[in-house]
């Protein structure tokens, strides 16, 4: 519903459809009929937020509980923000049109460090005090979930509760507790204390942190009975895990405008740079029948004619060919096309190609991540050049003429030769095209090389590693550029500035709260968007706060150092991460979870890949 005062100005902003709600599948309840109102906030634009699977799952799950009404809130784009500020219009939820400050829970999903500034801005626009300590009484409980909760320390002053791990159960438990606390008329503090006793709940205000003279952490001390270690929550039986049968179907085009079916959680690979590969352990699959049924229902209910099978590495699904066979039984007839994102180079077989090609041909994207075999071993990517060449040949034989290759630069142990090897690998793919006899006749090949800058993340074997300085990253980008000698290769690279800021906040501590606050006060937001991001502004903020960002981004940490996220437990042993890091120094790869168990610690959850027969 569009608030009346807002509608007046809607035609003055770009894409007003972002701010209206009223989509098919949106859940409208009566305020009087519910006890808990939850504003699910995505700290980015409508088109980005509506593409996110987590919000779809939790929105439907929450709304199935009769006493909860979950609504959606997105960050208004800068033109709309200007209108809202000028006319004193508070940020509102799309379903009821009510301002954010009316809600019991205000929940953010933390997907990306550069969206933190939007969180503060959205709270302020919604007339909610941005600092936890300024929010009183049993309302406006600001909670957050998502992968970045694995190190939420830079935003602990603003968020009351973090949810660690899978949210399907813990979120509901906390809302149930809230309902009880409100009936008992407890204080906000009492509610938070009780919440901290629920597994997967981290209440940052119940922990004191203390620093050494050199700025590193000395201790993290819980109080009021809060646990010393906060354990993540895991949904072990994916077939029984809640999955929505319908999505809110946007009226305007969004980034991922299709149905999405999650096929498994976790990843067996253990690429050493990849945070998701460690946070979501162990791998838990859905069964073919379950996926088939859920996918069919979703397509029927939404009207989408495209469905994406989502996971961290689709071709690692153990039953991928039987699954595709089963899905194509109805998808062809109903004109539904299947897409398989996150395909690995080594998992791309003729069988899979046949199945996805039979419906709609889309582009091919592979991520070798590093140019040389040595560096791929060091980061444990476990992809071999021969496999890439074979896969590309299969694709070229199948009529494909464009291939996108993703790489990272600035990886630990990387040399300039490793960087140049990226260009060489691209060249070899070009050569493979021309060596292919059945290639598309009369067409040239197009190889796109995209190189992003490596950002060391918590809970990865590289969590102790320094990020290359921006200057070094720029040099490497130029080195790669000059190593490319053919015009059949297009080279894209990202600005290293945003990667630097990402690195600061990814491994930041509580001292960065002051920086966030100051950045907000200076009007900084939408850092993930190049039209808004300014490193210069951020550097001024760091300067004013007396904080050196290089301390977080570019400093090598010792294995002994107490890390800001050491009180959070994602089931992965620190000793395991250290041994993986040491193997990287020796350019040694590790077997994946299906080949051999390395004892990372995730077996304690009692299921998934850890208990499959090897």
């Amino acid at each position: 519903m569009i608030p009346k005062e807002v509608e007046k100005y809607l035609l003055k902003v770009q894409k007003p459809g972002r701010y209206t709600g009223g989509e098919m599948g949106a859940v409208i309840k009566k305020k009087e009929d519910v006890e808990v109102r939850f504003a699910f906030c995505f700290p980015d634009t409508y088109e980005i937020g509506m593409s996110h699977l987590g919000i779809k799952i939790l929105y439907s799950l929450f709304n199935e509980v009769p006493y909860i009404w979950c609504e959606r809130v997105f960050a208004p784009w800068i033109d709309m923000e200007e209108v809202m500020r000028e006319h004193d219009l508070p940020l509102y939820a799309l379903e009821s049109g009510d301002p954010l400050c009316d809600f019991d829970f205000i929940g953010f999903t933390l997907q990306y460090e550069l969206s933190y500034s939007n969180i503060l801005n959205m709270l302020a626009l919604g007339n909610v005090p941005i600092l936890s300590k300024d929010r009183k009484g049993l309302k406006n409980i600001v909670v957050a979930g998502g992968p970045n909760c694995c190190n939420p320390e830079p935003i602990t002053d603003f968020i009351d509760i973090f949810f660690l791990g899978d949210g399907e159960e813990v979120d509901l438990e906390v809302m149930e507790l809230y309902r009880v606390c409100r009936k008992e008329n407890t204080t906000r503090e009492e509610f938070l204390r009780r919440a901290s006793q629920i597994k997967g709940v981290y209440v940052p205000s119940l922990y004191e942190v203390d620093y050494n003279d050199d700025g590193t952490l000395r201790s993290i001390t819980p109080r009021d009975g809060a646990p010393a270690k906060i354990e993540k929550r895991v949904m072990m039986d994916m077939d029984k895990c809640y999955y929505p049968s319908r999505f809110v179907v946007p009226n305007i085009e969004i980034v991922h405008d299709r149905a999405v079916e999650e096929i498994f959680r976790g990843c067996i690979r253990g690429c050493r740079f990849c945070q998701a590969g460690f946070l979501y352990r162990p791998v838990r699959e859905k069964s073919v029948d379950c996926i088939n049924e859920q996918t069919h229902t979703l397509c029927r209910n939404t009207g989408y004619d495209e469905v994406s099978l989502s996971s961290l590495s689709s071709s690692d699904y153990t039953q991928i060919v039987p699954l595709l066979t089963k899905l194509t039984e109805w998808s062809k007839k109903e004109n539904v096309s299947l897409s398989l994102p996150s395909l690995r180079v080594d998992g791309f077989t003729d069988d899979i190609l046949d199945k996805i090609k039979s419906v709609r041909k889309s582009g091919l994207t592979f991520a070798p991540e590093a140019g040389s075999q040595r560096l791929r071993d060091a980061i444990n990517k476990n992809v071999f050049e021969g496999e890439l060449m074979h896969t590309c040949s299969v694709a070229f034989e199948g009529g494909y003429t464009t291939v996108k290759l993703y790489f990272m630069i600035g990886l630990p142990t990387e040399t300039y030769d490793d960087v140049a090897a990226i260009a060489e690998l691209g060249q070899k793919v070009v050569n493979a095209y021309y060596a292919c006899e059945n290639r598309a006749k009369g067409q040239s090949v197009r190889v796109t090389i995209s190189a992003s800058s490596f950002v060391p993340k918590p809970f990865t074997p590289f969590q102790w590693e320094p990020q290359d300085t921006m200057e070094e990253l720029r040099k490497k980008q130029q080195h790669l550029k000059s190593s490319i000698t053919t015009r059949k290769i297009t080279y894209n690279y990202h600005d290293s500035d945003t990667s630097f800021l990402e690195a600061v906040f990814a491994r930041g501590d509580r001292k960065l709260n002051a920086v966030m606050l100051k950045a907000f006060e200076k009007g900084i937001r939408f850092d993930g968007w190049s039209d808004c991001f300014s490193l210069q502004k951020w550097l001024e903020v760091f300067e004013e706060c007396g904080i050196d960002p290089a301390f977080y981004a570019n400093r090598k940490r010792s294995f002994e150092e107490l890390l800001p996220w050491d009180h959070l437990d994602y089931g992965i042993k620190k000793s395991f991460l250290q041994s993986e890091c040491e193997k990287a120094y020796r350019s040694e790869s590790s077997p994946n979870c299906r080949e051999k168990c390395l004892g990372c610690g995730a077996a304690k959850y009692g299921g998934g890949v850890c208990y499959e027969k090897r």
Partner: protein, 219 residues
């Protein structure tokens, strides 16, 4: 195979669905409804739907139409509105379905209703200024065309109009040329009025009826 035309209203939140997005919304609805509609046979096959006259973003309408080819010759067309409505957002309601009578090229004019308000000047002042503007011999505005901007005299295009003063707002009903050859957007009059008064004007525009060259409603 029959050429079928459905008529629908577009209002509330759905006013803000652009023409391009409307195409997507309708394709999904047609797909979801499982109506047996003729599909294109090209590279990306999809149900073939067309719209007679695009509607500007932000306008509501009582008379939009969409055409498709129904493969099932025996189907009772009166069932179609409900079949589509359950697959559409609330702000789009299909109210009729029949075999197409006229061609989209037969469209000649449309009737719009615009409700105007302003913060800076009263409704009375707005009414007076608008009356003057509409009565004058020339209403020059800059119109964006494919070749750039040109100045047109809006007065030449006004087929009929009436102006009404309410307590807080002014309501204009106006019939303007519509269709693929000459199409005049009623917001041009608001632009001219804003220029004349210097006030920022807020408006709600609704398309009430579309007419053919014979002056009968498009069906």
């Amino acid at each position: 195979m029959r050429n079928v035309r459905v008529f629908f209203k577009k209002f509330d939140e759905c006013k803000y669905i652009s023409h391009l997005d409307l195409n997507r919304v309708m394709l999904r609805a047609v797909g979801k409804s499982r109506l047996d509609v003729w599909r294109t046979e090209g590279f990306n096959q999809h149900a073939y739907i067309t719209f007679a006259l695009p509607l500007s973003l932000g306008f509501s309408s009582e008379c939009e139409s969409m055409d498709f080819r129904l493969l099932d010759d025996g189907m009772d067309l009166s069932l179609i509105p409900e079949m589509l409505n359950v697959c559409l957002p609330e702000g789009i309601r299909v109210f009729a379905c029949d075999e197409a009578k006229y061609k989209p090229a037969d469209i000649d004019a449309a009737l719009y209703e615009a409700v105007l308000t302003a913060d800076d000047i009263s409704a009375k002042e707005l009414y007076t200024a608008f009356s003057e503007l509409l009565e004058s011999d020339e209403i020059p505005v800059e119109k964006k065309t494919k070749k750039g901007f040109k100045t047109v005299n809006l007065k030449e295009y006004v087929r009929a109009y009436s102006l009404l003063l309410d307590e807080r707002s002014v309501t204009l009903s106006i019939t303007l040329p519509a269709g693929s050859s000459t199409n005049i957007n009623p917001t041009l009059f608001i632009t001219a009025l804003e220029k004349k008064t210097g006030a920022e004007i807020y408006y709600n525009i609704s398309r009430k009826e579309i007419y053919t060259k014979e002056g009968v409603p498009f069906a």
